[in-house]
């Protein structure tokens, strides 16, 4: 189960809507107790995908490293990654799966016609061949 507190949730939605019609991406910082995760802060990261970003995103490892250091400095942990799907459902696509990492929760926000529509959280398996839906609370 992943619970996103109101402030980071608002920030993630705003980010997704601002980036529309492109995809946005960012890091979720918070605390983790077994399978219970709480997101306390959302950190915007640059979508570094070189081509059109309407249906693709890419994180620079340096940015992720910086997010992890920032989290540690504040006594928080990096517990997940979020990104948006413009005009598309919040499913975990094949592209998402193959470029994911089994360590983190992946929250996908669906933005349709420029407005937030719905969101899901996904947990990729170790082989990155499928992702399980994680209960998402916000």
């Amino acid at each position: 189960m992943i619970h996103i507190e109101p402030a980071p949730w608002r920030a993630m939605q705003e980010h997704a809507v601002e980036a529309y019609p492109n995809e946005c991406c960012g890091a979720m910082l918070g605390a983790m107790d077994g399978d219970a995760k709480t997101v306390r802060d959302a950190m915007r990261l640059d979508n570094a995908f070189a081509g059109a970003q309407a249906a693709r995103y890419e994180l620079r490892p340096e940015d992720l490293l910086a997010a992890d250091s920032a989290a540690r400095a504040r006594g928080l942990d990096l517990i997940g990654i979020y990104h948006s799907h413009p005009d598309c459902d919040a499913y975990f696509s094949k592209t998402d799966l193959e470029n994911s990492c089994p360590w983190y929760s992946f929250v996908v926000l669906s933005v349709q016609n420029g407005a937030f529509h719905h969101a899901n959280s996904w947990l990729p398996n170790f082989a990155r061949t499928e992702a399980a839906r994680e209960e998402l609370q916000y």
Partner: protein, 486 residues
């Protein structure tokens, strides 16, 4: 004794430690020591072969060790090692559009598409997907002709056409979207007129350009699917790379004489053209339709396979032709299938791509850019001769050998008087028969094959060798129109 920072989710394996100091003089030794201390962690970081997993980047302080000494990078107690995953993704292009974005169909359209609407796999929803779809056809020639006609008829809402050519008489044998009266007209206008005549409900974007590295991303980005109907390698690699970079499927087809191929490249998770052909063939090895000929019906068959795949991708039905190369042999009337795999080392779609932007594809394929204007008078390069100069030499009765390196069946269609036929296919074994001191002039149909024959001659030590620019086609245009063009 470097310090390794443990990512949050892995702390379950390190007794909740968020940083672990380990022994080891290099990054590799340190990681190994970590895995030795926490055995459950090993498979999170290493493959069964003991390599660091492909999605993990190892950083020493703030540098990726790939750019340092890899796992042999020295590490001291002042250093911090981090494990940073590679993360990317994105919604897929073939993703179902939501219903509120689906365009409505008029009563006229409902009637027009009724045979689609009553198939359960298509229905109203599918037809609306077709209407919402944006498909780019690169080329309106042999493959583009059936594609344009059928995709228009099927109701693909927005179709982009890329072509800068005009209709030529030799096109009519196969490019059924153009009529005899269109000869000399822009292919774009001729094709768009036929498509709109079939279906006035669609819109057509005309891109009257040669696709280049400078304009390709800008043109392709507005489309959902790109269909490659090109006939040359530089454009084929350009279309492929642009599709990979933009994450758009590339519906590919190619044809030669009686054989064709089709597949879908750059589809989510599937291989791309470079996975199949990392390098282009040497220039001139694979003849174009103009050089090698093509059964006129063949592009119809292959183009319609491409059209079928395009419609399937839009509708999201069936099994897309991804990871499979369909081979068609018209003479044997057989289809075969080859399995294609995504190459993890692929320079453009692999795990660590080296091509991250469009390059110079003419240089990559080793072929000169298509001349913007017909060869200028009197501007021949060394080793080349113009047809008018050839005519003067023949008229003067100069002593030289004129070799025709086309095939015997082409020689029967048309020839330059005084030429000796030595087909390129058997040229090498006749090299010994020519006089090294003689002046030799070589021609073919358009200048490509004769350029290779000239190269073979020069390599064999012949010094006085020239290639006829434009071949017998230029001869027919500039010297003797009674010689038929083909």
């Amino acid at each position: 004794m470097p310090k390794i920072l443990i990512p949050t989710p892995l702390r379950q394996f390190t007794a909740k430690e968020n940083a672990v100091t380990v022994s080891g003089a290099t990054v590799g030794e340190a990681l190994d020591a970590l895995a030795g201390r926490y055995p459950d962690l090993r498979q999170q970081i290493f493959t069964a072969e003991g390599k660091v997993r492909s999605f993990i980047n190892v950083y020493l302080n703030d540098e990726d060790i790939r750019y340092l000494g890899k796992t042999a990078t020295p590490a001291t107690e002042a250093d911090t090692i981090s494990l940073v995953p590679s993360i990317a993704g994105g919604a897929t292009v073939a993703a179902p559009l939501t219903n509120d974005a689906a365009p409505a169909l008029s009563n006229e359209e409902i009637l027009r598409y009724s045979r689609h609407l009553i198939i359960p796999e298509v229905g109203m929803e599918g037809q609306q997907k077709l209407k919402a779809a944006k498909v780019l056809l690169v080329g309106t020639g042999g493959l583009g002709a059936p594609l344009g006609l059928y995709l228009a008829a099927a109701g693909v809402g927005r179709i982009g056409l890329v072509d800068f050519d005009v209709v030529d008489f030799t096109n009519l044998q196969r490019q059924v979207i153009h009529s005899t009266k269109d000869v000399g007209r822009k292919k774009l206008d001729s094709a768009a007129e036929k498509m709109l005549a079939i279906n006035p409900n669609i819109s057509i974007a005309r891109h009257e350009v040669a696709l280049t590295s400078e304009n390709a991303l800008e043109i392709l980005k507005d489309y959902d699917i790109v269909v490659d109907g090109t006939d040359n390698f530089p454009t084929r690699y350009l279309v492929n790379d642009a599709c990979v970079l933009l994450g758009k499927p590339n519906v590919y087809g190619s044809i030669f004489r009686f054989e064709g191929q089709a597949t879908v490249f750059a589809y989510q998770g599937g291989p791309c053209y470079r996975c199949l052909y990392p390098e282009p063939p040497p220039p001139g090895l694979v003849p174009s339709c103009a050089e090698g000929g093509v059964l006129g019906i063949l592009p119809g068959t292959i183009g319609l396979i491409q059209a079928t795949e395009t419609v399937k991708l839009i509708l999201g039905i069936g099994e897309p032709l991804v990871g499979r190369l369909l081979l068609y042999d018209a003479l044997g009337m057989r289809f075969r299938e080859l399995k294609l795999r995504k190459n993890p080392e692929c320079p453009v779609c692999g795990e660590h791509p080296s091509v991250t932007r469009l390059i110079d594809y003419h240089q990559f394929c080793g072929v000169p850019r298509q001349a913007a204007a017909p060869a200028q008078e009197g501007k021949m390069n060394d080793g080349e001769i113009d047809v008018t100069e050839l005519k003067q030499k023949l008229d003067r009765g100069d002593r030289f050998v004129l070799l025709d390196v086309r095939e015997a069946h082409e020689y029967k269609i048309a020839k330059i008087p005084g030429s000796k036929l030595v087909p390129l296919s058997e040229f090498a074994k006749h090299l010994g028969e020519f006089d090294k001191n003689a002046e030799i002039v070589v021609h073919c149909k358009m200048g490509g094959r004769s350029a290779r024959a000239c190269g073979m001659l020069r390599q064999a030590g012949f010094t006085n060798v020239r290639n006829v620019v434009g071949g017998i086609t230029a001869w027919s245009e500039k010297v003797d129109p009674s010689v038929p063009k083909y």
